[in-house]
Symmetry: C2
Subunit: 341 residues, 2 copies
């Protein structure tokens, strides 16, 4: 069954059928239902080229993937992408990925937009005062920011996790348990989420008249290896921490190994809280000592970003920028306990 045949069967134009299937508002609900029913019964799947002709849209979301020799793949990127994919599939959207050197994303976005191959795009891996936001606002294609950019007015559409609140809560928990020497294994120094997590940690400490010791603060790539290395270094400090905050369960994996190797009991001799992106690969409840976490699903964020971006693309009227800040859940498990005396 092709579009022409379906058109003849239903007595509707090919354009109407394409628009109905793609959920554009020009087609009334009754007609849309009739088309979808017939499409399902006859096994019709729309031809993308025909779709594009009918709607003037490519049916695609653009994104930039940091890539370079030696640039490690990021498990968080893959998890987020799977959420985008799940939602895009529902709307028959695909995505166009432009690989880019980590510092040349602006050029990559300009290319995506100029090529006409994307109807909208999202930006991720935001940094402080990120110039990509002003650029995105100047281009006339819908966009959405995953995260935010510290130091820039928040007048752009975004979806972010309340990273500051999450790490403030986690630090408060540790302080309530009597910990005073608290370490922070954070993500890369220039990324917005890492900046906000540090702010949250500092805020909680300050409220109790304490401050974050620079010797106990590390910025690092989020791998198992770095978690092990940085935690080992922390444990060799003259005055080691009694508790540690980890920016990812991946970092925690290495950190826990270093703690075990040092003969310390997690949740007794030392406490640990990790941020949990809900990676299916690595569940905090499955660690030998289950991890206390601040939890926010990266996949759910991917789904929501695709949903909002596709809605923006299909909308005929411009909308004011929508901002969403998700609260992370604090999930207390066995890796946190009272500070040792």
């Amino acid at each position: 069954m092709n579009l022409k045949q379906l058109s003849e069967l239903l007595g509707l134009s090919q354009t109407t059928i394409s628009r109905a299937i793609n959920g554009y508002p020009e087609v009334n609900e009754e007609t849309r239902k009739r088309v979808l029913k017939a499409a399902a019964e006859t096994g019709y799947r729309p031809n993308r080229a025909a779709q594009r002709l009918a709607t003037g849209r490519a049916g695609s979301i653009g994104l930039v993937m940091p890539a370079a020799a030696g640039h490690a793949s990021d498990v968080h990127f893959g998890e987020f992408l799977s959420g985008i994919g799940e939602e895009a599939l529902k709307h028959d959207f695909h995505f166009v990925i432009m690989p880019s050197h980590p510092r040349e994303e602006e050029q990559a976005i300009r290319w995506l937009v100029a090529s006409g191959s994307v109807d909208g795009y999202y930006l991720a891996y935001m940094r402080e005062k990120d110039p990509r936001i002003a650029m995105a606002k100047s281009l006339r294609v819908p966009f959405l920011i995953h995260g935010r950019s510290h130091g820039i007015e928040e007048d752009y559409p975004y979806l972010d996790v309340d990273n500051e609140g999450a790490f403030r809560d986690a630090t408060d928990l540790l302080l309530d348990l009597g910990h005073r020497r608290i370490a922070l294994l954070n993500g890369p120094r220039d990324l917005d989420f890492a900046i906000r997590r540090k702010v949250g940690t500092k805020t909680a400490l300050k409220a109790r008249g304490l401050s974050l010791d620079p010797a106990l603060t590390h910025h690092t790539a989020m791998t198992d290896e770095q978690g092990f290395r940085q935690m080992s270094a922390l444990l060799r400090e003259e005055n080691p921490p009694t508790a540690v905050l980890c920016a990812s369960t991946v970092l925690a994996l290495g950190a826990v190994r270093a703690i075990n190797l040092a003969g310390l009991r997690l949740g007794h001799d030392i406490s640990l809280v990790a941020h949990d992106d809900v990676l299916p690969l690595l569940k905090p409840e499955n660690f030998t000592v289950p991890l206390t976490t601040t939890r926010s699903s990266l996949r759910a964020a991917g789904i929501r970003i695709a949903e909002r971006l596709i809605a923006q693309i299909k909308r005929t009227e411009p909308q004011p920028p929508e901002q969403e800040l998700w609260k992370a859940d604090l999930v207390i498990r066995a890796s946190t306990g009272p500070a040792p005396r």
Copy 2:
């Protein structure tokens, strides 16, 4: 500096400049060097739409991403993609990803090709007697298979790891150490690589007059959680294995935890060999007891596939299908030792 300005500066047509920059054979080497030098000096970056006009090519590679509600993201997919990205970046190629239900990849590939948005594509997650290969051969767009399909004549272009050889070698190592009860924690039952790894294991056992016990063979998703669950089940067997083969370091992560929880010493009471895709996230040498592995870099495979596919796209003459079978290295570390008496 735009294409028009560069064209005036060099006294060359815009088409020649685009072709030179994209490395098409119509432009002689001297001209190409002159264009690249001028482009570098003036900071010129080609406009993709202009490129496409000049070359008739989209500058893009297509691929299908399995996606669905509840379909877990795959860390192996992300790592492979990072290799593709690294190589694509060098050639100024991007990629177009079509999300697809895991059983509807044929339709997704047809769409990619029909849309005209890709110059070539690769297929992954191959299954036994996979119908996608016949389909790909019938479409007139370059393609490359990552992996192979058991039960189909190998007359198509592919890049695969010698999965059978890898697991034969790993099993031989265990047999040489005196192990006779060998378990296999394998990938999903219908995937080609899992089938070949099982064949390799069986072949090595058979050569010593042994066979693979079905009670010691599990097919599973490649997550930490499944590794833990399946290993725990194996250890509860009346006659438990003295050695286990794991299809991924991710599975091994959970399996090692189950071994530790059971109070067994890895490399003494039980031996383990894992297949190592060289995921930066999870290095076998960083396990508390470093893991013996069969090693083949998934990222290197991604790089090589992009390299071959882009060469195929730029070639003006058709070439016979090229087949590459990479041998996995056997890397012996502390997780394997003599069978306990």
